[in-house]
């Protein structure tokens, strides 16, 4: 609670900071994700000319030298190691019915993180990796996991690890529902909400690299590539679901249910515009 209030006042100070650069073009008349992604990436490349495209996946660490050093120190023996090991063990352990996670995924689940989320044409909706993992459990008679931490973080950590270095490869099939899901995600990202009237973009597009409280804001480009993350502030691991809900709460908004349609679409949008940037998860963060 206390930290939310600190955060809020810092956020207001940040809002007062003349936010300079114009955000990437928002309102194209006809939706054109490919053009969106190009404009989006160009915006960040122009804003941070010294960075290579792949550097953006390191969130705040590529934007500040003192923090980069602390990160390198952490990566010598990263705090997500235990979670990664646990995920590997869980992944290879069969369910009670003898089947395993590998049976639910293409290529037995190895090296496929970069293809998630995808648009499922039967369901007509976006399917994220976290959702697919729980569906796999339920289909095999196991109880679903909490979406935000522990087991879910461990499983996605392992799956991300097997995809390290593979560029995000999110597809938007030629299906009006897929395009709509993408547009919904984008709208969610740019819509102001919460008591502080911030959109996700206010922080992660307009002010990346700025300090808010002690934190350096991560750029929206590559913002999901390192997921799941071990955050020192959490003292543990968190998934994409956990990060989305936390950001909603911090701006005094009402978080949605993990894996609600809006969050699934949001993840679809954010992943798509980071196409081409390598998966680097699991990650470590302040």
């Amino acid at each position: 609670m206390r930290s939310a209030i600190h955060f809020a006042s810092a956020a207001l100070a940040l809002a007062a900071l003349a936010s300079v650069a114009a955000p990437p073009a928002l309102a194209a008349d006809t939706p054109n994700p490919a053009a969106d992604a190009r404009a989006f990436q160009k915006y960040f490349i122009d804003k941070f000319p010294k960075l290579k495209l792949a550097d953006f996946v390191n969130g705040p660490y590529s934007l500040n030298e003192d923090m980069h050093k602390q990160w390198e120190e952490k990566e010598q023996f990263p705090p997500y190691e235990f979670s990664l090991d646990m995920g590997k063990e869980m992944f290879s352990k069969p369910f009670k019915n003898g089947k395993s996670y590998a049976d639910c995924f293409p290529n037995k689940g190895i090296g496929i993180r970069q293809d998630y989320p995808y648009f499922d044409d039967k369901e007509g909706k976006v399917v994220t990796l976290e959702l697919a993992l729980n569906r796999c459990r339920v289909a095999n008679g196991e109880a679903p996991f909490s979406y935000v931490k522990d087991e879910m973080a461990a499983l996605t950590a392992y799956m991300a690890f097997t995809s390290r270095g593979k560029p995000f490869d999110i597809k938007i099939p030629n299906d009006p529902r897929a395009l709509e899901a993408y547009e919904n995600g984008k709208r969610y990202f740019y819509t102001r909400r919460g008591q502080l009237n911030f959109s996700c973009a206010s922080c992660h597009v307009q002010n990346p690299g700025e300090r808010i409280r002690a934190e350096i804001l991560a750029p929206a480009l590559g913002i999901l590539n390192a997921m799941p993350i071990y955050r020192s502030e959490w003292g543990g691991m968190g998934t994409i679901s956990r990060r989305f809900t936390t950001c909603n709460v911090q701006t005094r908004g009402v978080p949605l249910d993990p894996q609600s349609d809006e969050y699934r679409d949001l993840e679809y949008y954010l992943s798509y515009v980071s196409n081409g940037l390598p998966i680097s998860g699991p990650g470590a963060r302040p």
Binding site: D66, M67, P79, A214, E215, S232, E233, G235, P286
Partner: protein, 164 residues
């Protein structure tokens, strides 16, 4: 997170010992019950030094003497800790005959954070990660040839490591 000034004296109660073991069973696979034979560590755990509040008392309790600053002690710490719960701190020294290295955080409830014994043949350098409750001096002590040498650096903390 709420900071209280309750020290860690309570731990010695047997009740808590029992509770701790239950939790560890949950974590799984930790050999329980029997205290391990820390055969080689004939030096006792410096319990009193860890209970002292300020750094001067902690150093006195640990070593029974005071330290003088030395530029042969190189203390490396971030200017601004990304998070007080995990502050990377390391030390190297060109001093000879080093027998121990200690780290203290002045503003922590108990200043002494860690103390390392350096037997002959071990390189006098160590890296570790410490908690800092707030902006504070970090003091490194090197015991060499029976004398104490120190280095001090301020680390700014905006997100406190009260939790850890």
């Amino acid at each position: 997170m709420t900071i209280t000034d309750n020290g860690f004296t309570a731990t010695r109660r047997l009740v808590l010992q029992g509770a701790g073991l239950v939790i560890l069973v949950g974590l799984g696979n930790i050999p329980l019950g029997v205290a391990p034979a820390l055969a080689a560590a004939n030096d006792k755990y410096p319990e009193d030094a860890f209970k002292q509040k300020g750094e001067a008392d902690a150093i006195k309790s640990l070593y029974g003497k005071t330290a003088e600053p030395s530029d042969k002690v190189k203390l490396d710490a971030p200017e601004i800790a990304e998070n007080g719960a995990v502050v990377p701190i390391s030390l190297t020294t060109t001093l000879a005959d080093v027998t121990s290295i200690s780290f203290l955080v002045s503003e922590n409830p108990n200043a002494l954070a860690a103390s390392y014994q350096i037997p002959p043949g071990t390189v006098p350098a160590v890296a570790n990660r410490l908690k800092m409750a707030k902006t504070s001096n970090v003091i490194a002590i090197v015991e060499a040839g029976g004398k104490l040498y120190s280095a001090t650096r301020e680390v700014k903390v905006t997100v406190g490591g009260c939790g850890g």
